[in-house]
């Protein structure tokens, strides 16, 4: 077993926040102090804990060699982290909003002070995706980062797919199980995933990516029959974040999206997270694991602390300034509830044809008042598709607004 390394100097950690992750981190430090001492020659010890309305940040900062920020939110977290960096103390945070909204300011402060700012736990909990993008892939040119980075929505979509239940029913179940919060809007509307994708895009492409550069849609409009039809076509539905490089431009988006079975993210079920990184030099690499959980997140925070104590520093990259693009191409799934009468398909095909949208597959389902057309298109400019969609929605035989979802069309493996 590990021998005590009694001579290892103590490193004092100031812990800001004592919620679920803070508590788990506190216990983990006590549990792993000897192992950390054996590994990097320094024994971590909690010097002070700042709770809501208890403790003084200034006193804790003065007594600490390193700050761990687990308060969440941006105020007062931003102020505390800036003060710690300016005092020359490295910081580890699990705070995605802080990094997504104030990353540039914080990175600049860390560089100026010559200390580290690490944030592995801010994206995908225990899954070491930040480290892999920053350090594990050297200096390859990343083409695309695709991620299931919100466990709540992946749980809901998995449950809808396996049970056939409605979004509302499954959301209620997720809330009972603790996978969704009482107010789930941040997760289900896509904002949480958008903040994480902004962070990943920044690291992958070495360019500032503000939250306003990320367009996002959530899963609140998804209906069970979309998932069922998609399944028949061999597709599964995920809330996907996709950050792509297009020459000197990038796009960063979050949307519900259909994946073919061969896609590396297609098998990711339940409250798990997974991220796929694509580049010519590595083909594709996928990392998956639990996206949240107190112990898992605390473990990612401790790994960052260990890296700082061990003197590892993520490489600095030359900054680029890439434009955020919005005129993109996608393949689409299209679900049309139509009247059951002749020439309906011809009329729709005519609209699609005039917009130069070519159809990959089309299935006609039901009859009478339940007639519907389910199609998948080839890759097409999104603007043209949405123009066509508007035109189709205005046709007199449409019984309900047209429904559309993006499809990741590339062939994997």
């Amino acid at each position: 077993m590990t021998e005590p390394v009694t001579e290892a100097p103590v490193v004092k950690i100031g812990l800001l926040g004592r919620g679920t992750v803070g508590g788990a981190f506190h216990d983990l430090v006590a549990d792993r102090a000897e192992a950390v001492a054996a590994s990097v020659g320094a024994r971590p010890e909690i010097a002070g804990v700042l709770r809501r309305g208890e403790g003084s940040f200034e006193e804790i900062l003065a007594a600490s060699d390193l700050i761990v920020e687990l308060i969440g939110g941006t105020d007062p977290a931003r102020e505390y982290v800036l003060a710690a960096l300016e005092a020359g103390k490295p910081v580890v945070t699990a705070n995605k909003q802080l990094i997504a909204q104030h990353g540039d300011e914080l990175f600049a402060a860390a560089r100026k002070a010559g200390v580290e700012l690490r944030f592995e736990a801010a994206v995908a909990g225990a899954v070491p995706i930040i480290r892999t993008v920053q350090e594990g892939l050297g200096t390859i040119e990343i083409e695309r980062v695709s991620g299931i980075v919100n466990g709540t929505t992946n749980f809901i979509l998995s449950e809808m797919a396996s049970s056939g239940a409605s979004y509302e029913e499954v959301l209620a179940r997720a809330q009972e199980l603790g996978y969704a919060e009482a107010d789930p809007s941040d997760d289900v509307e896509g904002a949480d995933a958008a903040a994480k994708m902004a962070i990943l895009a920044r690291l992958a492409f070495h360019t500032p990516v503000g939250l306003d550069a990320v367009s996002y849609e959530g899963i609140t409009e998804i209906r069970p029959d979309d998932i069922a039809y998609a399944k028949e076509l061999g597709l599964s539905l995920k809330l996907l974040g996709i950050a792509e490089r297009h020459g000197d431009g990038i796009s960063v988006r979050v949307f519900p999206c259909l994946l073919y079975a061969g896609h590396p993210l297609a098998p990711v079920e339940g409250p798990f997270n997974a991220v796929t990184v694509e580049a010519p030099a590595i083909t594709e690499i996928t990392i998956s694991g639990p996206g949240a959980g107190g112990v898992e997140t605390a473990s990612a925070v401790l790994a960052d602390v260990v890296s700082i104590l061990g003197g590892e520093a993520p490489p600095h990259h030359a900054e680029e300034r890439l434009e955020v693009l919005s005129d993109l191409e996608s393949s689409f799934y299209l679900h049309l509830e139509v009247a059951d009468r002749p020439r309906v398909l011809a009329a729709i095909a005519d609209v699609l044809g005039r917009h130069e949208i070519s159809v990959k597959s089309v299935v006609q389902r039901g009859e009478g008042t339940d007639a519907r057309l389910v199609m998948v298109t080839h890759r097409t400019p999104e603007a043209a598709f949405y123009d066509a969609l508007e035109e189709i929605s205005g046709l007199d035989f449409m019984r309900a607004p047209a429904r559309a979802l993006r499809v990741v069309e590339e062939e994997y493996r």
Copy 2:
């Protein structure tokens, strides 16, 4: 775009070996030199290349700041790497046999000289599993590492499953496609996977693991009907490496094995590699990607070079001495070709019962000269199972030797 960083000092790389990976690495260095300079402030340059019968190792060593060993095999690679480390020069290698067989000696030489020895590309090509186990997970206590670490065998098993073709037919196809070598024995008999699992076990458990500590079986005896029956039971067949900690003991094994659909390695198809790391603090993390390929492997080598130039050092861990255990438990799939007559099942149930093996599911198939029993057992001591297997094979109604495969029984997710 990236600005040239003209003032960055040059780091001279001595390249040993100029095969597929060596050639790809040579090109990659030329292509990424500016990006590396921008990232870590040092521009890599190939100072000399040692080819078979061309170039002098001593001259290349003297002219280099860092050695990249891509010769393969252990002789003269071991001698060259030792000489480089003793000369105080960091080494990056992609050589699994070198690390698996001579790791202890080489790690000691690196520690003594105070220089780094990195080997990400030795296991699973571009998939950054070494880095994740060494650095990405901090100091958590790893319980189990399971891996599909041989792309050739995973390709063969995937093809057998999808086509129903025999091992021999699919091997021939794999050889045509370049996924299997002319002499495939190292891959298909499990020795290649065993060397990689020895390396992963060493890093996961901080204990010396010699090649002789790894028991292995290959896939040459697998028949299409085993895969077909397993599929009916919801199981898929993989050649799996499993390194587990049991208190103060470990086991490291490679064997063909059946996985339930929920297992994180079950969806890994084709020539891909994937490794799952399990620990209470992280639940489970899975990394997957291409297991080989010149560019992919070269890219992992360059990531190691960048880490060395950036001054990152993997943490040192206190050494443990864990015993290698062999009295383990497994769940088994059992395939028995029997005569079609009364009391056959009762006789088999009697043998299993006397060895305290309980059966989870049993299916009777075929009749007359094609009658067979396919069963899955609950977890049972392996020694008891093999005793029972021998006894069953001696029963007079058996038409062929009994066939058995391990099943990973744990429920995932």
